[in-house]
């Protein structure tokens, strides 16, 4: 029973990773850039959602706030992602590989500090230098469901449902729409795609926006699940999500979803490692150890993508 409980916990945690990991994978698939600042986009999604809630009269936790908050988070995350793409990454598109990576680190630190220093300055907003409590919306939070000894938090269920919906929409978008197919074409061969009349710049923006939108969903889910948002939360989550993307095979969207779920389950199961090295204190270490193991034995990831060989 305990194993089952950890499996459920792991899956819902993994759903969060999966939502963020998609952003790494789509951007990497097209421009071969590890968008190090993607974790911060996730964080901004959470803060954007919180901002919408704060703008309404205090203490409104009705379920109708949820779509509005989601909208706010998505707008904030997509907006910031597009701005960073336009002003930080695009000028460096043909630069040596080191340059965009360093830029990404700079963007990441910059965005964290921007939220830390100035979010609280908006009238009516709480001080953002430490974690801000996140509103507990009715129905999606509250007493956990109990099924024969198995406890499922409502927010965890919300995350899983959100992932299922997002994955479905993503599948339709990528495989059935013109824009999605253009994205696939660009990721396979940007030069040929351009010759075929695809506006590659636009596709890259779509990729950034898509990843940011999903990250914003994750940001909202994170807020509901952990009952707070923190300007630092993007760092570790982003790192984990990247691990998930590599686990599934970076560049492969299905892989990112699978990788996220697997990583979450592995973290959940780490509790059962006997001796002192089990337990929650070491779960992050096991997650990163998994990343290194994957790189040794299956660098193309679980579902396989083309092996990244551009140094």
């Amino acid at each position: 029973m305990d194993v089952l409980q950890q499996l459920v916990n792991g899956l819902s945690l993994g759903a969060l990773y999966a939502l963020i990991a998609v952003g790494y994978t789509v951007v990497y698939g097209i421009v071969q850039l590890i968008n190090f600042a993607h974790g911060e986009i996730f964080m901004i999604g959470g803060f954007g959602a919180l901002a919408v809630w704060l703008l309404f009269p205090a203490g409104n936790v009705s379920i109708w706030m949820l779509p509005l908050m989601l909208f706010g988070g998505v707008v904030a995350a997509v907006g910031v992602a597009l701005l960073t793409e336009r002003f930080a990454y695009r000028p460096l598109r043909n630069a040596p590989r080191l340059a965009p990576l360093i830029t990404a680190i700079g963007v990441s630190i910059f965005l964290q500090e921007l939220i830390r220093l100035f979010y609280g300055d908006i009238p009516g907003f709480p001080d953002s230098k430490r974690a801000i409590p996140f509103p507990q919306i009715e129905y999606v939070t509250g007493p956990a469901f109990n099924m024969g000894g198995l406890t499922i938090q409502r927010a965890a269920l919300f995350t899983l449902v959100a992932l299922a919906i997002c994955a479905g929409l993503l599948y339709v978008f990528v495989n059935k729409t013109r824009l999605g197919r253009a994205m696939q074409a660009t990721s396979q061969d940007p030069d040929t795609a351009r010759l075929m009349g695809i506006n590659v710049d636009k596709i890259i923006m779509v990729a950034f926006a898509l990843g940011a939108a999903l990250a914003a969903v994750a940001g909202l889910a994170h807020g509901l699940r952990y009952t707070n948002v923190d300007f630092r939360m993007g760092f570790l989550a982003g790192l984990k999500a990247f691990t998930a993307a590599v686990l599934g095979g970076i560049g492969n969207i299905n892989g990112a979803v699978l990788g996220g779920l697997v990583l979450g389950v592995v973290e959940g199961m780490a509790t059962f490692i006997p001796g002192q090295f089990g337990g929650s204190a070491w779960k992050d270490v096991w997650a990163f150890a998994l990343l290194i193991l994957v790189l040794v034995f299956r660098p193309q990831g679980l579902l396989g993508a083309r092996v990244v060989d551009r140094a």
Partner: protein, 571 residues
């Protein structure tokens, strides 16, 4: 490079060139006079600029800039162009001087306004100086530039050249001591602007070219002089530990950055967890030290500890590097980042509760004893030729040796077969492999070697800091190290030294921006990559890598290589 829109066209310069000279000359002379007038109403602003005919040090610096402008303008008239004589670029020199002076004066006026509350506190002398620099700025812009300098080809008698190097070093020592002494942020920033202006003048006029040619000829003298100056620094402090503590921090930071420079700058591997290797070295040294909180009851002599620290760090480097270096550079960046996290979490967990007791968890290992070499106790004050030298001075000397060693390793590797292999890998990995370069081996060597040096530096840092805790070794520190390299210039020694010094000194001196430090820092990283990815001091080969389309630059550098046979800026 940022290119401003050209307001002043060549035609305009042809027509108004002589008028421009008169305006500029007038501005320069006015700038020489202005320091003798009072600039501020209150003595509390900066270094007391309230006197008539008694300039403060900062005002004297303004006078120096004015004199530079006038001197170049006069020189341009006096020096008639001769076919064989090396050319000094007078107008660009004056232009750089005027631009620098403008920034300098504006900064001073802003500082006065900020410190006294409002621009009304600026007295007429300040406005005169502002007008003077504006005139000089506009005037020099109106003058045609003339041909580029060829001063680098000039030769002087050897003793004179050596003297020039010595003078330069002495000026550097004096400037560093003066800057460190300033507690007032306004003075510090203004002084930095002055130094920047002088350096810009030297670069634009060709004097820097001459100096760098001279230092190429007398390399040994230069290195000796540089170390002598660094060695002399504690003697200027009169036994005070306040500045020495900053200086030791700067130098340990610089030493670590130099180690990372081998990995990032030479081999082109982005290591985002470098601080973990420093931490590994520090923890090993702490655990093996005779601290009462050390968890292992074995205390070998320090020399052995240093080697063990380095080896442990290098071993960790091999464990992380061997799987990732086969795949791709991007993976390495993230895996090293993850490794940094693993290190931090592990050090926090090895507290006897969640794991074996090795590090006392988040408390770390305090009370690490001072180093003691053959009875020479680093913790107490010693006297040398009558000058008292405190605790930090002792560590400073030791660290000076370490950074010297790291620089030696760096330059020797850079000029070796290994270094050329690294360049080849950096520029095109597949082509390098096809040419028979052992890509994986060389990468692993850079990675593990860099880790070893960090481990060595860490073992000394442990003793100098007295305590070692996991939260000293977080990702942000790695990012700072990387920023020092990016800011200064990847793959250069001088650049990284400057970058590390600036990054460590700025927060110490500019307390008022400490809240926005990280914000500015992130922004600087982005802007540097956008506008000057090669850093403040550019390694020319690196510069070419970042500006592949710039044909002009490529031609210039290939000409230089043909002339001198070497690539400049590598050391």
């Amino acid at each position: 490079m940022i290119t401003l829109p050209t307001l002043v066209t060549p035609e305009l310069q042809q027509r108004h060139g002589s008028r421009g000279r008169i305006i500029a000359l007038f501005g320069g002379v006015l700038l020489i006079i202005a320091p003798f007038l009072p600039w501020a109403y209150s003595a509390r602003a900066l270094d007391d600029m309230t006197f008539l005919v008694d300039p403060s040090p900062l005002q004297y610096l303004g006078l120096v800039l004015g004199a530079i402008i006038v001197a170049f303008l006069v020189l341009q008239q006096v020096l008639k162009p001769a076919p064989r004589r090396p050319r000094t670029a007078c107008v660009p020199g004056a232009r750089a001087g005027a631009t620098g002076a403008l920034i300098y004066v504006v900064l001073i006026l802003v500082s006065i306004s900020v410190e006294l509350g409002g621009a009304v506190n600026v007295m007429y002398g300040g406005w005169v100086a502002l007008v003077a620099t504006l005139l000089a700025f506009v005037g020099t812009r109106l003058m045609p530039t003339g041909r580029p300098p060829t001063l680098a080809a000039a030769t002087a008698p050897a003793p004179l050249e050596v003297l020039a190097i010595a003078g330069l070093m002495a000026a550097a020592l004096f400037a560093a001591a003066y800057a460190l002494d300033q507690d007032d942020a306004g003075i510090f920033v203004s002084f930095l602007a002055f130094v920047g202006a002088v350096v810009a003048v030297m670069i634009r006029s060709g004097v820097m070219g001459w100096l760098s040619a001279v230092s190429q000829r007398h390399k040994k003298v230069l290195i000796l002089a540089a170390f002598l100056v660094a060695f002399m620094f504690p003697f200027t402090q009169d036994g005070s530990d306040a500045n020495m503590s900053i200086a030791t921090q700067v130098i340990i930071f610089a030493a670590t950055a130099m180690g990372l420079n081998i990995v990032v700058g030479l081999a082109g591997l982005l290591d985002l967890g470098y601080i973990a290797f420093l931490g590994a070295g520090a923890f090993v040294a702490a655990i093996l030290s005779e601290s009462a909180f050390s968890t292992i009851n074995w205390h070998p002599p320090f020399i052995v500890v240093v080697l063990i620290s380095g080896t442990v760090a290098a071993a960790l480097g091999l464990i992380i590097g061997s799987p990732t270096l086969r795949v791709s550079g991007d993976y390495l960046a993230i895996v090293t980042l993850a490794f940094g996290e693993i290190f931090r979490i592990s050090m926090n967990n090895l507290d006897g509760e969640d794991g074996p007791d090795l590090t006392n968890g988040s408390n770390g290992i305090p009370a690490i004893p001072e180093l003691n070499f053959f009875g020479f106790d680093f913790g107490i004050r010693h006297e040398l030729i009558g000058v008292p030298l405190g605790r930090f001075s002792n560590y400073y000397f030791l660290l000076l040796l370490v950074i010297g060693l790291i620089i030696l390793v760096f330059t020797r590797l850079n000029n070796s077969r290994i270094g050329r292999g690294w360049v080849a890998i950096r520029e095109d990995e597949r082509a390098a492999e096809a040419m028979g370069v052992n890509v994986f081996g060389l990468k692993l060597f850079a990675f593990a070697g860099g880790a070893f040096l960090a481990g060595v530096a860490g073992s000394i840092k442990a003793h100098q800091d007295v305590s070692v805790t996991p939260d000293q070794y977080v990702f942000l520190e790695s990012a700072f190290l990387l920023a020092a390299i990016v800011l200064g210039g990847m793959g250069t020694v001088l650049g990284v030294l400057i970058g590390a010094t600036l990054l460590k000194l700025m927060p110490e001196k500019l307390r008022f921006v400490s809240e926005y430090r990280l914000l500015i820092f992130g922004l600087v990283l982005v802007l540097m990559m956008r506008f000057r990815p090669e850093g403040l001091v550019a390694n020319q080969r690196r510069q070419l890598e970042f500006h592949e389309e710039d044909e002009e630059l490529a031609d210039r550098i290939s000409d230089e290589i043909a002339e001198t046979g070497t690539v400049k800026g590598a050391t």
